[in-house]
C-alpha cells in the first residue's frame, strides 16, 4: 500500500517537472497532490487529508490551469522547457536529496517504531482551533483576506493604467 502511494506521488511529481506541455504537467501535479492526500489518510490524519483534497485538487489545480490558459502557456516554447542554467540546478537538488537521505538513514535507529493509531477526530481539531490555536487561526484568516485582495489588485493593476 505504502509503495503504491509513494510510486503514484513521486511519479506524478516527476512527470509534472519533466513534461513539456504545461497542461499535462498541471494534470500530473494533481495526481501527486492526490497521492499526498492518500498518504495523509494512511497516516490517520483524516482532516488534513480531506483539506488537501479540497484545497489542492479542488482549488490550486484549477487556479494553475486558469493561469496557464490566461498566459497562453499551452503553446510550446521554441527553445526548450528547461532553463539555460539547468546544469547548476540539478546538482543542487541532487545534493540536497543526498544530504536529507543521509540524515534520515543515519538517524533511522533513533526514530520511533510502530505506535497505536491516534484517536483524534474532527471535534478535537475544532476545539483546538478555537482554543489553543486561536491566534494563529486569526492570523491565517487575515493573511487569506490580504492575499485575496492583493492577488486581485496585482492582476487588475495593468488594465487600469492602460485605460
Amino acid at each position: 500500500m505504502f509503495y503504491l502511494i509513494a510510486a503514484l506521488t513521486l511519479g506524478g511529481a516527476l512527470a509534472a517537472m519533466t513534461l513539456k506541455h504545461l497542461v499535462h504537467a498541471a494534470l500530473s501535479v494533481t495526481v501527486a497532490f492526490a497521492g499526498l492526500a492518500l498518504f495523509f489518510l494512511n497516516l490517520d490524519a483524516q482532516f488534513a487529508g480531506f483539506a488537501q483534497i479540497i484545497i489542492y485538487i479542488g482549488a490550486v489545480a484549477i487556479l494553475v490551469v486558469f493561469a496557464i490558459l490566461l498566459t497562453r502557456g499551452s503553446e510550446l516554447p521554441k527553445d526548450g522547457v528547461f532553463s539555460r542554467t539547468w546544469f547548476v540546478g540539478l546538482p543542487i537538488a541532487a545534493g540536497i536529496f543526498a544530504v536529507l537521505g543521509w540524515a534520515v538513514i543515519a538517524s533511522s535507529k533513533a526514530l520511533p517504531s510502530e505506535t497505536a493509531a491516534p484517536a483524534v477526530n474532527v471535534h478535537d481539531i475544532g476545539v483546538a482551533l478555537v482554543g489553543r490555536y486561536v491566534l494563529p487561526l486569526e492570523i491565517v484568516a487575515l493573511l487569506l483576506t490580504a492575499a485575496t485582495i492583493g492577488a486581485v489588485m496585482v492582476a487588475l493593476h495593468e488594465k487600469e493604467r492602460a485605460k
Binding site: A16, F39, F47, A51, W86, P112, T115
Partner: protein, 104 residues
Amino acid sequence: MGSPLTGYLIVAALLFSIGLAGALVRRNAIMVLIGIELMLNAANLNFIAFWRYSPHPEALTGVMFAIFSIAVAAAEAAVGLGLVIAIHRHTGTTDLDKMNRMKG
C-alpha cells in the same frame, strides 16, 4: 529500516528534491510555482508523519502545523499566479530567462 517513519521521510525528501529541481530548472514561471508547492507539500508530509509516530499525538501539533501550512500555501499560490498573470500582461512572456529587468 526498522521504523515505518523512515519510508515517509525518504519519500518526503525525494518529493522536496523533485520540487526544488523543478523550481531551479524550469523556464516557465508557473512551473516554478508548482515546484514550490511540491516542496511545501513535502514539508507537510513530514509534519503529519512525525505527528503520527510521536509519543503524544493528542497534542495535535503536527496536524495543526500542516493545516496552517496548507492555508499559507493556498495564499501563496493565489498571489504568485496573480503576479505571473500581471507580468505576462506587462511583458508578454512567462519565460524566466527573459525577465531580466526589474523596472519594466
